[in-house]
Every structure is written in C-alpha cells, then in structure tokens.
C-alpha cells in the first residue's frame, strides 16, 4: 500500500475527481464573478470592460450599505442567540427528564425546507387572520401591528423565524460536544465539591471552546450571506427595510439585469465574509489548546 501511495500519479488520480469538481463548481466561478464585476453586462449580450466602476459605485450605494447594515444586525443577533442555544444544550445534557424528546423537538425546524418555514410564518404574521394577531386581538390589543409591512418591525419579525430555524442545528452541535467530554472529569470535580455552575463554566465550556469558535464563524458568516427566508417572506420589502446583501445582489443581477453590478456585489459579499471569518478567528485565537485529561 505504501508503495502505491508513493507514486505521485496515483495520488493525482485519487485527488483529481474531487479537485476538478471543486474547481469547476466553486473556485472558477468565484474568479469569474470577480471578473464579471469588472464589466458592464446585462446577462445576455456582450460585456464591456469598465474596470473598477462597479465597485466604486457599490461603495457609494446607500441601498447596498443599508442592506449590509441589516446583514450585520442579523449576524449580531445570531451570534447572541448562540448563548441561548448553549444554555439549552447545557440543560439538555444534564440528567433531566424528557431530554431526548426535547432534543428532537428542537431539531425539527431544521428538517423543514426554508420555503415551508417561510409559508408557515407568513400565516403566523398575517395582519388580520394570522395566529399572532388573532392572539393579540383576543388579549385585547386594539390595533395589532402588521408585522411584515412595518419598516420598523419587519427585521425583528424576520429574525425570529431565522433563529428558530437554526436553533436545532446549533443545539445539536453543542449537545454532541458536551457529550464528548469525559464523564470522569465531571465526576472528579463533583468529588472536589464543585457545583453544577462551576462544572459548566470551568470544565465543560473550556473543553468545548473549539466547537464554540466554529459555531460563531458558522452563524456569523451564515447570517451575512442569508437569503432564502427573507426572499420568500418579504422580498426585501417594504421599500428595502428588510433587504440583506444577498437579496440585494440577487435583485441587481436577476431583476434589473445588471449582472456586472450584481457580480460586484457578490464578490464584495465574499470579501466581507472572508474578513469576518479572519477577524473572528483572530479574536478567539488561544495560544494553547486546553486539555484536562
């Protein structure tokens, strides 16, 4: 076996298929998108090279920065909600009754498609017949808000289903990480007289810090490029109040037929995500990996 693997051609043979796929589907399109961003192109006719005009325009585009602001808000919101997920995972991993069932309940939203979730929440938020407003009316609220039509409310109204959608995913990751911590460590701590809070903060959290870092990156980057629920539920409206970077990019490319500008926005979004990832890794970098065993 060693002999086979020492042949460079054999290695290439094994690596090639996936390398080609990943190049063709991911890296080459990224480079092309960057290139399209340098052109004026309506997606159908021929392209005209305009250099950095699209990017210059993008930096001055208030609608884009407004949508970028919404994306950042979503990232912040998702980041904060991780604390909640962590809490739930800590509780679930303790010996409480029905933990198994609860874990499954939390996971279910993740199994639904985004469009189904969007339809579900559209019904909940419906201004007159919706579950939420019916409830508010029956509680005596005179004029309940139209959640998805109020520019000041629409973002919050969208964040809730998004958080709900991904709760199960992060809880599951945290739960698995917590279950991976050797019972003997907790046992020893308990014998030394540590209370559950101390065990959680001093032993369990440090041991799963790597996982926490990964989830922070996942949720922040996932939020920055978030698209589907917003597209279906409000289409960025009303009047751009719920527009995010990805939906703005989509509109420029596929609605206004401005593929050059849309590509520039897409490429810029990629850069923002890369920078965010780098910054998070940098901020959370620790010199040594904690190991208690």
């Amino acid at each position: 076996m060693d002999k086979v693997m020492s042949n460079k051609w054999v290695i290439a043979l094994y690596v090639m298929p996936s390398l080609l796929l990943i190049m063709g589907i991911i890296y080459i399109p990224i480079v092309l998108t960057g290139y399209y961003g340098l052109n004026e192109w309506n997606g159908i006719g021929s392209m005209t090279f305009v250099g950095l005009d699209n990017y210059r325009h993008l930096l001055k585009d208030t609608a884009f920065w407004q949508s970028a602001g919404h994306s950042l808000l979503l990232a912040l919101f998702s980041g904060i909600s991780l604390i909640g997920y962590l809490g739930i995972a800590l509780v679930l991993s303790g010996r409480i009754k029905g933990a198994n069932l609860l874990r499954k309940i939390y996971l279910i939203p993740m199994l639904l498609s985004s469009v189904a979730i969007a339809q579900l929440w559209l019904k909940i938020y419906h201004p007159t017949n919706g579950v939420l407003n019916s409830l508010l009316t029956s509680l005596g609220v005179e004029n309940p808000p139209s959640w998805l039509a109020e520019p000041s409310l629409v973002l919050t109204a969208l964040f809730i289903p998004i958080v709900w959608q991904y709760a199960g995913f992060y809880i599951l990751i945290y739960y698995a990480a917590l279950k991976n911590i050797p019972e003997s460590l907790m046992e020893a701590a308990r014998i030394d007289g540590a209370n559950p809070w101390q065990i959680a903060v001093r032993i369990r959290l440090p041991l799963m810090s790597e996982v926490i870092k990964v989830t922070v990156v996942l949720s922040v980057v996932g939020s920055l490029k978030y698209f589907d629920l917003i597209y279906v539920m409000t289409d960025g409206g009303p009047n751009g109040a719920s527009e995010v970077m990805a939906s703005y990019m989509y509109k420029q490319a596929f609605r206004s037929f401005d593929f050059g500008y849309g590509s520039a926005a897409g490429f810029f979004l990629l850069l923002i995500c890369l920078v965010a990832t780098y910054l998070i890794r940098k901020a959370t970098a620790s010199k040594e990996t904690i190991q208690y065993s």
């Binding site: 399109p29 997606g43 006719g45």
Partner: protein, 445 residues
C-alpha cells in the same frame, strides 16, 4: 495538519461554496446549448418541443387544462411531435427565464411579456422573429389591432400575444348594497365610498403590495385620469418628465387613499394572492386587477356560485378637472409566445405556436375565460354576462396604457416598483417619487 488548520480550511470551503452559489452557478454551462432533445429535426422523425408556461394546475386550473388540451390535439394531428411542459408560478417563471437565458438554455417555446420585459432577450438575439406567422393564412388579420405592436422591435415581431387584459375595479355588490352605496362615477364619489366602507369597518380595497405591480395599477390609473395618458407615456419614454404637476398630484392622491385607510391592513407585507383573498373572503369590497381574474368570478368551478353572483365591475372613475377619459384603460396584451432562436426544432416550434395561437383564440374565452389578443366573436359564443360586458367595454376603449413595469426598461421598472412600495408605505413623498423616476428614466439601462 493541525486541527485548527483543518477547521479553517473546511470553513473556508464552506463559506466560498455558499456565498456564490446563488449567482455563480447559473452562469456556467455556456456550452450545453438549448434544452432540446437530441432528436433530429427532420420532418416525420420524432421531435420533442419543450414548452415552459406559467399556469399551474393549482392556481390557474382552466388555463392549464386548455394548454394541455391544445397540446394533446396537436400531438394527435402530428404523431411525431412530443411536447413537454414545464410549469412554474408567475414570479418563479420570470426568475427562471432570466436564469436560463443567462446560460442560453431557453425552452423551445415559452411565455414572455411585452415591450421592456422582452427587450434584453431580443437584443441578446434569444428570440426568433415570427413575422412569417403573422402573414400566414391561419393568423392573418386575426389579432386585435395594436396588440402585436407591443411585441415588435425594429419592425420585427418576436412574440405572438395570446392575452389581452384591461383592469377594471371589481366590487362586491352585496357589500355595496348593505351600505347603500352606488357605483362611483367620479373620483370624489369613489372617495366617499371608501369613507363609508372604512368607517363601517370594511376594508374598502383589497391590495397585496408586496408584489408591487399591484400598487402600480393604482398609480397608473390616477396618473392617467389626472394628467392624461399621453403625459404618462411621454414620462415613461423619457420625452416627458415625471415632474409634471399632474403626475405628482397622482402620487399624492395615492397617499391620500392610504391615509383614508382605503387599502386592507398590512398591504405592503402581503402578496397579491393574499390581497386577493381579502376580496374573495368578502372582507374587502373592491379589487383593482386585470381581466385575467375573470374566471374566478365566472367559470372557475372551485369558487362558490353565491360569491360569483355578487361580483360586478366598474371603470376607474374620472377625476374632476383631470385630463383622463373614463374609457381609457390600464392594461395591454398580457403574455405572448416566443420561439427560442437557438432551438434545435425551430421550424416545428413555430408551427406549434401558430396552431396554439389560433386554437387558443377560438377557445380561451369559453374554456379558460381568458380574453385572447385575437378577435372574439361575442355573438357566436355562450359567455357569462361579466365577459360580454367587458368585451363590449373593450370595443369602446379609447386607449390602453401598458402596465408601467412592462413598459419600462428592467432597471427603471425596478426603481418604479420599489418607489411604488415606498409611496404606499409613506416612506417617500410624491416629490421624491417623481425625482427617483426621473433619474431612473434618464439613466436608461
């Protein structure tokens, strides 16, 4: 490889995959050519024509049935031809068409809208000219005058219209009777109707403005009635201006209506279907929409007859001192059929389109309730009264103003639609509304 390096690598891959899959993926596959089957196009041999349309069996049952029936008949007469349908909802259809065109994979036969919508496709050389079909025997002089023009560019016709739509205001006769309301003849009377309904807790008008073109209809009519159809047309084409005091007044009238609670609650967050539901559930009294809704008020078997009997229509009222005429309509040819320039079976596809348009013209009013762009003989067919009345109105029409988002170039159309939502949501003043339009029209595309 250390653990953290590996995670970093994985994360990077993950990020890159998801960020650009949206717009990067669609631009690939330039080489795959049209979706046409590999069957050759020699006559007599097996041919497959791909057709994409926007009448799903769920939401447009009648049209869907008629399309399937025409296809079945055609296949019977031409045993060597197989026609494959791909059906999508309106908005998804528009999006998919754009994605397919970017990768040059249009279906052999498909649906397009007129003017501004089809311009990039025509300029990109994606649609085949169909002038030979216009002069051919089956379709010669069959179209209502003025309908095919909306589909022609540089003196060539690139699609054949199969629909003609005008937009009346439908109203619920029972609700009107309950509050002793008369059909309004002037805009002042209309406002009084709105006032009465609103103070009695009935939503006067059903509107789903998330889709934005729905609100555009209201602006279009007000602009037409206040400033006159020509002013609007010139403003859109760039020879006039949106600064025109009449057009600004029309925009401020929209906001007056919003202030009067003329539209159902939360309209800016509701889709057209959700807005329509307010009218269908009899929670709202009026609904301004194209004649494509007529089947729901006449022939659609899924709608209770009791409701259908309550629906009437009136023309958008005139505004005192306005330049508009009550017989001018916002509307225009709805959708048309195009044939892909790159189709491997173009000749067969054209023959099918010719057959489709003439059969559709004969049957669409009676079976699907769709007013075709080809002339209809009202005396020959048994038609519901609502149709006869509207077809007669169509004969009296003084002019038809094409829907703004169809008339404008894609870029300007997006600005128009966004500004409509802002105007209705009171996030923009009528002056800002005019300024943004002016800027967009001047910018061109």
């Amino acid at each position: 490889m250390s653990k953290s390096k590996m995670t970093r690598g994985l994360l990077l891959t993950f990020v890159l995959t998801l960020v650009l899959s949206g717009c990067g993926g669609a631009k690939q596959n330039q080489e795959t050519g049209s979706e046409g089957d590999s069957a050759t196009d020699t006559a007599g041999e097996k041919v497959t024509i791909n057709m994409m349309h926007l009448w799903p069996a769920g939401s447009s049952a009648q049209q869907n049935k008629l399309v399937s029936q025409i296809i079945a008949d055609y296949q019977q007469e031409h045993p060597n031809v197989t026609i494959k349908q791909e059906v999508l909802e309106n908005e998804q259809y528009k999006n998919k068409l754009k994605v397919l065109s970017a990768s040059n994979e249009l279906p052999d036969v498909g649906i397009t809208w007129a003017a501004g919508f089809m311009e990039p496709y025509v300029k990109g050389g994606l649609f085949a000219p169909l002038d030979d079909l216009l002069t051919g025997e089956p379709l010669k002089d069959k179209f209502v005058s003025g309908t095919t023009e909306a589909y022609s560019m540089d003196n060539k016709t690139y699609a054949l219209p199969i629909e003609l739509n005008i937009s009346p205001i439908y109203y619920n006769k029972e609700i009107f009777a309950k509050y002793k309301l008369e059909v309004p003849g002037t805009y002042e009377e209309f406002k009084q109707v709105v006032q009465t309904l609103s103070s009695n807790g009935v939503a006067p008008v059903a509107l789903g403005n998330k889709d934005r073109w729905t609100g555009s209809l209201w602006y279009m009519y007000l602009a037409d009635r206040v400033a006159g159809g020509d002013t609007l047309k010139q403003a859109v084409s760039g020879s006039g201006s949106f600064d025109d005091p009449g057009l600004v007044q029309a925009a401020s009238e929209v906001q007056t209506l919003v202030d009067m609670n003329a539209f159902n609650k939360g309209f800016n967050g509701l889709s057209n279907d959700e807005g329509k539901a307010e009218f269908m559930n009899e929670k709202a009294a009026m609904y301004l929409m194209g004649t494509w809704e007529l089947p729901n008020f006449t022939t659609n078997p899924d709608i209770p007859q009791a409701f259908k009997d309550k629906v009437g229509f009136f023309k958008f009222p005139t505004v005192d001192g306005g330049k508009g005429n009550v017989n001018s309509w916002v509307g225009g040819p709805g959708v048309g059929l195009f044939v892909s320039q790159d189709s491997k079976v173009q000749a067969e596809a054209k023959a099918f389109v010719e057959y489709f348009v003439s059969k559709w013209g004969e049957q669409s009013v009676t079976t699907a309730g769709v007013i075709p762009a080809t002339k209809v003989d009202t005396t020959k067919n048994e038609l519901p009264q609502l149709y006869v009345d509207l077809l007669n109105e169509l004969n009296n029409a003084s002019s038809i103003t094409l829907f703004a988002d169809v008339q404008m170039k894609p870029n300007a159309a997006q600005v128009h639609l966004d500004m409509i939502q802002a105007l209705f949501g009171k996030a923009a003043t009528p002056e800002q509304f005019a300024a943004k339009h002016k800027e967009a029209v001047e910018k061109g595309n």
